[in-house]
Symmetry: C2
Subunit: 286 residues, 2 copies
């Protein structure tokens, strides 16, 4: 596996493959790789000739300096995991390579897609930071396909919107959430949980399961399903930041669960903020 | 010359050239082609294997519905001129093709580059509209080189900033302003001038000439040069919107003309808003 740190080098490394019209898959990450990321890398490996993984902890998308400082970083470990999963090229740009002096451009997706859920909790600049850096990474690497996780369901929808709106010549693939055996969604932040918090972290998945059971049992009122999910979370001693039932494609609030509906939850467990989601299919899976 | 109206068709039309690694030059225009545009098309023709001209009157960058409605449109005339100048592919997207329902993304260059001159006069959304549509056109066509006119000096700097900041894989070429024999800068808006206004429109070029003469004579105080330029314009009975002396690269205001300095002027002549500019080289041309 080749490791490069500049845009010029990543383009040069990919030049021969591009000229030979071999397909390039990109998995953009903030490092701290776990099974979720690695499932994306394996998908990229299966469907492309060349697999690029980027590691860049984007300072702009942390609204909190402490959260940024606490974000786990271990390039050597990430490099071993990425290589084992089939990565050809690891792209690790510096902060100055991504945001050189004089940098002045923002890519912003407006509307409900970014105003709700994580946008409402983390501030309006959070998704601007995501969409700006994703646009940059897609232009730096120019992949045929880029892979994102369903764990960050809202981010995936925002990226799809961005790519459509800016006519970026790339296909976006969204891959299912990978979970621990007990159901906890894999996340780089899980490493920060102590033993007690790790148990209580199951609150998020339990809330989603409760919502799913209510809908399977015939409940269609979104408020009722939301209250059921919320109660499940609180039974673990975890206070939800939000439990939201929204249209799976637009994130618009829903009153009745008649079509595919995203249940998205967020909560702090101790000092660690976790999110999770599932899609309810009241009419059966498509 | 081939004419296409959709993103899918422009990509399909360019596919063979791209796969053969032939170079593609794009001249983005709002139509109403004149010698200024055609000089860009000829430059693209000279330096590329394939020349694409886009015609799209971007509604978002008109702050005034009347100005948008009055903007001249004549696709058949433009097609003849573009073909004669060497265009291979004319791309004429509809408004819905560029801004489909649900469109929600803005590309914004911040800082002094967009806040001053045209940004100050036309409102902050003007350049957002320019940078958003230019990003889209560059992604739709994926040219190797895109051509812009020095007539819109600020726009050219904003586009260069945008391309650098978003790592768009394209080279930007800026071509000199083309003028009428008497010095009036070519502009699609010149067609709206009546005979009296056409005479008075020379006020803009006269202001630039006066600034140039003052600097050639040794004046280095920006305010003094600005006043001289302003007086020249007013002598034509034209009231300047602005006469600005700013650093040619950053558009930051300058007090002393010690390095390359952009003199930019804007004025309404009758109902028609005109702009022009020149670069003062106090140390000789580079």
């Amino acid at each position: 596996m080749n490791v490069v740190r500049t845009v010029a080098d990543v383009r040069e490394a990919l030049g021969p493959a591009r000229r030979a019209q071999r397909s390039i898959g990109l998995v953009p990450t903030m490092g701290a790789l776990h099974e979720g990321h690695l499932s994306l890398v394996r998908a990229a490996r299966e469907h492309n000739d060349v697999v690029v993984v980027s590691l860049f902890v984007n300072p702009a998308q942390f609204e909190d300096a402490g959260d940024l400082a606490a974000y786990p970083r271990d390039e050597q470990r990430d490099a071993v995991l990425a290589a084992d999963a089939g990565t050809d090229l690891l792209f690790v740009p510096t902060r100055d390579e991504v945001y050189p002096p004089g940098f002045a451009t923002t890519v912003s997706v407006g509307g409900v897609l970014t105003a709700t859920l994580e946008g409402a909790q983390r501030g309006t600049t959070h998704f601007d930071a995501v969409t700006t850096v994703v646009t940059k990474l897609l232009n730096m690497v120019s992949p045929d396909v880029a892979y994102f996780g369903q764990k960050d369901a809202q981010q995936a929808l925002v990226v799809r919107r961005l790519v459509a709106d800016l006519n970026l010549p790339v296909r976006i693939c969204v891959w299912p959430t990978i979970r621990e055996p007990d159901g906890l969604a894999r996340s780089s932040r899980n490493a920060r949980l102590n033993a007690d918090e790790r148990e209580r972290a199951l609150a998020l998945r339990s809330a989603l399961d409760a919502a799913q059971r209510a809908v399977t049992a015939g409940e269609r009122d979104a408020d009722a399903v939301g209250l059921t999910a919320r109660a499940a979370m609180i039974s673990f001693g975890v206070e939800p930041e939000y439990v939201a039932l929204v249209a799976a494609g637009s994130l618009a609030p829903v009153a009745r669960i008649e079509t595919d509906t995203l249940v998205a939850v967020a909560a702090r467990v101790g000092a660690t903020r976790l999110i999770d989601n599932t899609i309810l299919h009241p009419n059966g899976r498509p």
